[in-house]
């Protein structure tokens, strides 16, 4: 870290990346297996009868033989290990199974829905990160000032509001009173196709609502971390050298504060997903949220298992990416250690 040339130093920092990725992959396999076994065990403990769930209101007018026949067709009365091995076998052949609650292959449920949820979460995450870094750093720079106090008060207020409430309030103001945005749906109800501009127009409110509901946590964290690092020796030294305030704030203080933040973004991801489920409901978006609830209520193992596996994989990847980013950002961290 002392006298090495910049290009070599950079490659040196990520030198262990390949090893780390390989090691993480080896850990990921047992984690995913354990998750899926846990899923099946929980499902077995659930007393809900998937055939009755499938029949819906017709369950009350359907004879027991009729329901037993449907259960036999699905093989849901087989012993759990048999069901699990069958599922693993199909999975290895690339077949995620048949969703009993949606009446279509699990892969097509995911294909039709995961994209919208990922789009919602991805755009929101970008907005939240940018906004919280910028606003948090500014608030920390003028700690105790009007902007800082106003921002913190707003953050605490938003933190205490349920996300569906913010969503309904946003619809009431921006869709009903002002008429700027549509109240819900992915496209205009009478639209003939799915155009990007139409979808973008429909996503502004949901993204804004989800971003606002998730922002306080990130914002307060950035503000505190930057405030802390503004008192660090190297930041004081930079200031003493007469560097411009902007350079000190964004180049020195924020950069130091960024490190723990990267890891925490990874761990905060599941909460963002949870918020997305509620936002999808309020804005009637056809994402994964509603089907997940339906799958859980209907003991739809194949769909639940797939969603759980995908979510676990995303969290594992996010953690890995955070660690790699950490190594890239902080010269003291070495991956090959």
């Amino acid at each position: 870290m002392t006298t090495t040339a910049p290009p070599r130093r950079r490659s040196g920092r990520l030198a262990g990346a390949a090893v780390v990725v390989r090691r993480r992959l080896l850990v990921a396999v047992p984690v995913l297996v354990a998750t899926s076994v846990g899923m099946f065990a929980l499902g077995a403990a659930s007393p809900v009868d998937p055939a009755k769930q499938y029949a819906g209101a017709a369950a009350f007018t359907t004879s027991e033989e009729n329901l037993a026949q449907i259960r036999a067709n699905w093989g849901v009365d087989d012993p759990l290990p048999v069901q699990y091995l069958r599922w693993i076998g199909n999975l290895l052949r690339g077949d995620l199974g048949w969703s009993t609650s949606r009446h279509e292959p699990v892969t097509s449920v995911l294909a039709a829905r995961a994209g919208w949820t990922l789009l919602l979460i991805g755009v929101t995450l970008a907005v939240v990160l940018l906004a919280s870094l910028l606003l948090g750093a500014l608030a920390a720079y003028r700690r105790g000032g009007l902007f800082d106090r106003g921002l913190r008060a707003a953050a605490y207020a938003v933190e205490s509001m349920p996300v569906f409430w913010i969503g309904l309030a946003a619809i009431a103001v921006f869709a009903l009173a002002l008429g700027w945005f549509p109240a819900g749906g992915l496209t205009d109800v009478t639209a003939t196709g799915t155009s990007w501009s139409d979808v973008a127009h429909h996503l502004i409110l949901p993204v804004a609502v989800l971003a606002i509901s998730q922002a306080p946590w990130f914002l307060l964290f950035v503000r505190d971390a930057v405030a802390e690092s503004l008192r660090d020796d190297h930041v004081l030294a930079a200031r003493a050298r007469g560097l411009p305030g902007r350079t000190v704030l964004f180049g020195h203080a924020l950069r130091t504060a960024l490190l723990p933040f990267l890891t925490l973004v990874g761990t905060h991801l599941p909460e963002l997903v949870g918020g997305a489920v509620l936002v999808e409901t309020v804005f009637s978006l056809p994402g994964l949220g509603a089907v997940t609830v339906e799958a859980a209520l209907g003991s739809d193992f194949p769909l639940l298992a797939a969603i759980t596996l995908v979510t676990t994989a995303v969290v594992l990847t996010a953690n890995l990416a955070a660690d790699l980013a950490y190594a890239a950002a902080d010269p003291r961290v070495r991956l090959d250690g």
Partner: protein
């Protein structure tokens, strides 16, 4: 700090610019595409089907917009010919039903409808490999044959008077499904029928887009497109209705009432055959006494339940045959309000005397029972609490208990349960299985093991006799027997409420069943709706 100013200024300027851009983007005028005479109608519901295949339970009672059955129902729920040229004929022994098909009916893909399509549809329902819950309703069918391309013959195991009512099931094209696993067929999402609309696209969880079938045998629909928006949450649906997105939406009574004062909307309260009541099991030592059951029926204030819990959107219930049915027996209707005097007199006479804590006692046994309700159903919870309060006034203690169905199922033989059933089409449907002793203790059919030879015989006669007058007499006997035995404490019939834009014309509400979504809702005849 001075050095920070440029940053701040730049930030303010960029934010403002971005805001302006966003505003400009939103204020782009949106020209409705259907300005040429209301060509697209949009309706909203919470009831999305899992599939659009009639074999797998989509729109089995007709009015499915995409399919037609051999018969259909008019605004008064009377049977009229559908794909059949005239109502099918029944042989004198009641076991052979013959239908002649209309000429020249085409499926949406241009294929011609033949008798083999009809036979295929019913055979698919009866195939044990097919996951159809409809099989329970067609257990009287022995065989279906198509002797020639225009004739379908049903052979029944036993005479079944209301069989024609079962022929509303939509007919699917055999050509597109033969040799396929019907449970997993692509057809279930992209169906092809004969109905007034064909499916343009279906985005599950979002919307179903239907376009007019130019060659519909009943005449081309008056509108070009129908969009069914699926909005699960009631409040969200109400807000989007308010925002002007929908021409019609199904909404709970209390949310619908908010639209009534506004001249731009109209609220429809549609009667249903869907009743709520308390199943009183004979296996419970307290409820086994008919005096307790009759006293409960006198003690409950049905009018207060309709006004308070349903917001006026319901009717008092006194039996399992809805008052809108031609088979309803008017003499069984009691007082809609509570009659505690009569209830206490009845209990006194039966030997249930008030105990020290206000709860009546007979032979050392207190008048106390548990009333279960599905915990997630707030309507049933409210009704259970109302029953509890009313029963307390006459000295019967009810312990309401909210449970999940899997916890309820094993206890149905001995604990009371708030249930709901009902169909507007024929008194045999559901009712036979609910009150006939042959089904005692079989799952959700007659879980309280009610046994009455009089009711059994009346139900059987209603099923066997083809003569409408004799059927009416049989169901009158049945209803009187139920009113005397009180195996159920009938509380209310529900009404379905809808909000419509005032400009929508041609709406013709008819008595609805419990299930209402894409099919069988207020928009059962949307192909004749217009916008003024």
């Amino acid at each position: 700090m001075i050095r920070l100013r440029p940053t701040l200024r730049r930030l303010v300027v960029t934010t403002a610019a971005a805001g302006l851009l966003a505003l400009a983007g939103c204020s782009t005028p949106e020209v409705p595409e259907d300005s040429a005479g209301g060509a697209t109608l949009v309706v909203a519901t919470a009831g999305e089907s899992d599939t659009l295949n009639p074999v797998l339970n989509y729109g089995v009672d007709g009015a499915s917009l995409i399919f037609d059955g051999l018969v259909a129902r008019d605004a008064g729920n009377r049977l009229v010919p559908g794909l059949a040229a005239e109502l099918p004929t029944v042989s004198p022994d009641g076991r052979t039903v013959t239908a002649k098909l209309r000429d020249g009916v085409l499926f949406h893909d241009g294929g011609e409808l033949t008798a083999s399509d009809v036979a295929f549809t019913y055979q698919a329902v009866l195939d044990p490999k097919v996951d159809s819950t409809l099989r329970s309703d067609l257990d009287m069918v022995e065989s279906i044959t198509a002797p020639d391309p225009a004739t379908v013959v049903f052979r029944l195991r036993y005479p079944y008077a209301p069989f024609l009512q079962r022929l509303t099931l939509g007919v699917v094209p055999a050509k597109l499904l033969t040799g396929q696993d019907i449970n997993k067929a692509e057809f279930n999402r992209k169906p092809v029928g004969t109905g007034p609309y064909r499916v343009e696209s279906w985005t599950p969880g979002d919307r179903l887009v239907l376009t007019a079938n130019e060659r519909y045998f009943g005449g081309r629909p008056a509108n070009d497109r129908v969009v069914v928006a699926f909005v699960e949450d009631d409040n969200v649906r109400a807000q989007r209705m308010r925002a002007g997105e929908f021409d019609a939406a199904e909404l709970p009574p209390k949310l619908a009432a908010g639209f009534a004062p506004d001249g731009a909307y109209r609220v429809e309260q549609v009667p249903t055959a869907d009743y709520r009541g308390v199943m009183l099991p004979m296996g419970n030592p307290v409820l086994a006494d008919v005096a307790i059951r009759r006293a409960l029926s006198l003690a409950v204030d049905r009018a207060a339940m309709v006004a308070g819990i349903l917001g006026g959107s319901g009717d008092p219930a006194f039996g399992p045959v809805p008052p809108t049915s031609e088979f309803a027996e008017p003499s069984i209707a009691g007082k809609p309000t509570a009659d505690p005097t009569a209830a206490t007199a009845l209990l006194d006479a039966a030997g249930w005397t008030p105990g020290p804590d206000g709860v009546r006692v007979k032979n050392g046994r207190p008048a106390r029972f548990t009333l279960m309700y599905p915990a997630s159903d707030t309507l049933r919870k409210d009704l259970a609490l109302a029953v509890t309060a009313d029963a307390k006034k006459v000295g019967i203690e009810v312990a309401p208990e909210g449970l999940t169905w899997d916890a309820i199922d094993p206890r149905m033989k001995s604990d009371a349960l708030l249930m709901g059933y009902g169909t507007p089409y024929d008194p045999d449907f559901v009712t036979y299985k609910l009150y006939h002793s042959r089904f005692a203790g079989q799952g959700y059919f007659n879980p309280g093991s009610y046994r009455s030879p009089v009711a059994d015989q009346a139900l059987q006669e209603g099923r066997d006799q083809a003569d409408p007058a004799r059927r009416k007499a049989a169901y009158a006997t049945f209803q009187k027997q139920i009113a005397a035995d009180v195996p159920w404490l009938f509380l209310t019939y529900l009404r379905h409420s809808y909000v419509l834009k005032s400009s929508v014309q041609g709406v013709s509400p008819r008595v609805e069943a419990h299930e209402h979504g894409v099919a069988n809702s207020l928009w059962w005849n949307i192909d004749t709706w217009t916008r003024s």
